[in-house]
């Protein structure tokens, strides 16, 4: 039985546009409201046949529309989408902070939502007092907090400052304490917004570890992040939101690809052309596969670009491929060698990426052509950073060298290297 069941969920916001003033739509004041009514009335009396100049125009905006989905107990679901796609609104509706405009939600368990770290922290109160307060705000009972108090303090690494008002805490200490409380929540459903972007890298790792534990204990977790690597690592299932609608729900790897496909389509809409006076990119492909394909870590892959040289190039003329990981950082770059004095014409450049080399995850391939004219400086003829996308998965067979370990294996690459292990002494 599904633990969350959503039917035809919609959330509408009304945005008021003042026709004669450009006031921000949220700052309503009583004075403003009264004077507008009074002025309107006065205008109406003076010029009964003119349209009311004080009239405001309201615009409806559906932050969510027609969402239908079910989430099974124990699933870890990543919710992805561009800014303004409705992710935060969905979390807010699910955690009951705001009410939906249409539809129905059924929830079969205790929910805790973590949309911000340190909600309700009071700067005047001490660390100890804030643990109790924050715990209660997040839905823990006092006994529960008492029971876990030592564990929380331990996790936060701030035991020395427990009786200091948190206004004297450094921002790092503050975040650590706040997250320590949140990490010890034990709801059946945990809703987490992009809160991990705060704090130092080491503590982030610790929190991620704690969240994975949470997922493995059979708890349902809903997680929003822009960090696709984090999403792919933590979640089994993914949901893609686009302009308030649910576009895809299923395997997380497919969801991540779908999300990037969205972005690519958006770029394509701009009809960007990649060319210079000397050269033009004609196309890029994954040889034998369609774009957005999924391969296993054992498979090899060939990427291809076709380009046209419009005139003779005397210096070096080097096609190169740039591989990016899903969070946008570089995996590696490689360029073809030994190409000098190229005559005009159409070229095809293939680059073979071996199997058992890349780790799991989504990868983006950028294609570029660089020329090094003799006596001149480097020139980038074209560079399409987002030409190709593919996904690599681990089939978890005997060649994966996992020996039963099922968790994620870190790293951009996962080569099989030569080993020799020998016994040296007793």
């Amino acid at each position: 039985m599904s633990i969350i069941k959503v039917k035809n969920l919609g959330k509408k916001y009304t945005i008021g546009h003042d026709l004669n003033a450009n006031s921000a739509f949220r700052s309503r004041s009583l004075r403003e409201g009264l004077t507008r009514t009074a002025r309107g009335l006065y205008q109406r009396l003076r010029h009964p046949f003119l349209p009311n100049p004080e009239k405001t125009e309201t615009e409806e905006f559906w932050a969510l529309k027609g969402l239908d989905f079910e989430i099974e107990a124990g699933d870890t679901v990543g919710i992805i989408g561009r800014n303004g796609a409705g992710k935060s609104t969905l979390l807010k509706v699910l955690s009951r902070i705001t009410e939906p405009t249409t539809g129905r939600i059924e929830i079969g368990g205790r929910i805790a939502s973590l949309l911000e770290v340190g909600t309700g922290f009071h700067p005047e109160l001490t660390g100890r007092e804030n643990i109790y307060l924050n715990g209660a705000i997040l839905g823990m009972t006092r006994d529960e907090i008492k029971r876990k108090f030592d564990e929380i303090v331990d996790f936060s690494e701030v035991e020395k400052f427990l009786d200091t008002p948190v206004k004297r805490f450094s921002s790092g200490m503050y975040v650590r304490l706040a997250f320590a409380v949140a990490a010890h929540l034990e709801p059946e459903i945990l809703i987490v917004d992009e809160v991990l972007s705060v704090g130092d890298a080491q503590f982030q790792k610790k929190c991620l570890g704690k969240m994975e534990e949470v997922g493995q204990e059979g708890r349902t977790v809903l997680f929003v992040s822009h960090n696709m690597a984090m999403i792919s690592n933590l979640c089994q299932r993914g949901m893609v939101l686009n302009e308030g609608r649910l576009e895809y729900s299923g395997q997380v790897s497919d969801a991540v690809l779908r999300y990037y496909q969205n972005i690519n389509q958006r770029d394509a809409a701009h009809e960007r052309e990649f060319k210079s006076d000397d050269a033009e990119l004609l196309g890029a492909e994954l040889v034998g596969l369609s774009n957005l394909s999924t391969i296993t870590i054992h498979d090899e892959l060939t990427v291809r670009m076709r380009y046209k040289l419009k005139r003779q190039i005397d210096g070096k003329c080097v096609p190169n491929f740039h591989f990016f990981t899903s969070d946008g950082s570089y995996a590696f770059v490689d360029s073809a060698g030994g190409l000098t004095s190229m005559s005009p014409g159409i070229y095809c450049a293939d680059c073979r990426v071996p199997g058992q080399f890349l780790n799991e995850g989504a990868y983006f391939v950028g294609v570029a052509l660089t020329t090094y004219p003799e006596g001149g400086s480097l020139r980038v003829e074209f560079f399409d950073k987002n030409a190709l996308t593919f996904n690599v998965v681990d089939p978890m067979d005997e060649r994966s060298n996992r020996y039963g370990y099922a968790g994620p294996i870190p790293g951009v690459v996962r080569p099989r290297l030569d080993w020799s292990v020998a016994k040296e002494s007793q």
Partner: protein, 272 residues
């Protein structure tokens, strides 16, 4: 598996009262937080809670008792004033703190769910601490003037309850409006000051001519204050029709305040 929670658009949440019960610990913790913060932040702390009613009492005694020579119902004027200051300060503290409470807890309201009504209600608990301090000042005053209370004093909690009903009704109304109309907080001190003048705090309500008493009782605080004087001073007569009218209005006010709050509560997170 526990009962499934159903959220449906345009439907009054049926389990609101169940939620209130479930979140009682948060209510107590928030009250505890506000009390802690209040007495931690100010250097003078508790002495402020003592000084304020004491100074008000002295000023009112001089202005109304000595200069205007108002009747004192046969008790020392300071006791007459202080008996009214108890509910008045309880009321005005609750309303002024509670009226702004939602806005000052905006970050919590937009980030986590709980029945929002516990936020303005919390301010009543904080005012209760000041009330207890004021009661002890009154006891000292009564010892000083050698005024012994009668059996009526046992009814004091009942009148305190009525004061709470009055204060909460107005607090719910104002705090909810304050979310939507931000400049309401500038109106709030004026409302409270106005209330002090139209309520019989510095004088006895017996100075109001008999034929106007019932109309005067349209102010629910008149009933509350008369009740306090009836219970504390011991020998003042009670104008019962006015009191019942006042009390009825207070209950009606609470119902309206609660209703408005419940209806506006649903969009707090969107507009706050």
């Amino acid at each position: 598996m526990r009962a499934r929670l159903v959220i449906e658009a345009d439907r009054v949440n049926r389990q609101y009262f169940k939620d209130l019960l479930a979140y009682r610990e948060l209510f107590l913790l928030l009250a505890w937080r506000d009390i802690l913060v209040r007495y931690k932040q100010t250097v003078i702390g508790i002495s402020w809670s003592v000084l304020r009613p004491l100074l008000t009492m002295i000023v009112f005694t001089i202005v109304f008792g000595r200069l205007a020579k108002m009747p004192s119902e046969g008790v020392p004027y300071p006791i007459l004033v202080f008996a009214a200051l108890l509910p008045w300060q309880f009321f005005s503290n609750t309303v002024s703190e509670g009226g702004n409470s939602l806005v000052s807890n905006a970050s919590m309201i937009s980030k986590v769910y709980f029945p929002r009504i516990i936020v303005p209600t919390t301010s009543m608990i904080v005012s209760l601490i000041d009330f207890v301090i004021s009661i002890s000042i009154l006891s000292v005053l009564m010892v000083w003037y050698q005024h012994v209370p009668t059996w009526r004093v046992v009814f004091l909690p009942l009148f305190l309850g009525l004061a709470a009903i009055t204060a909460l009704g107005i607090t719910y109304l104002i705090s909810a409006l304050n979310v939507k109309y931000r400049d309401f907080r500038h109106v709030l001190p004026f409302i409270i000051q106005f209330g002090l003048y139209i309520s019989p705090v510095g004088f006895s309500s017996t100075v109001v001519p008999e034929k106007w008493r019932l109309i005067y009782s349209m102010n629910p605080l008149v009933g509350v204050i008369d009740g306090f004087r009836w219970a504390i001073i011991g020998n003042t007569p009670m104008y019962w029709p006015g009191f019942i009218f006042s009390a009825g209005l207070a209950v009606l006010l609470l119902a309206i305040g609660f209703g408005v709050f419940r209806r506006m509560e649903r969009e707090f997170a969107d507009v706050i």
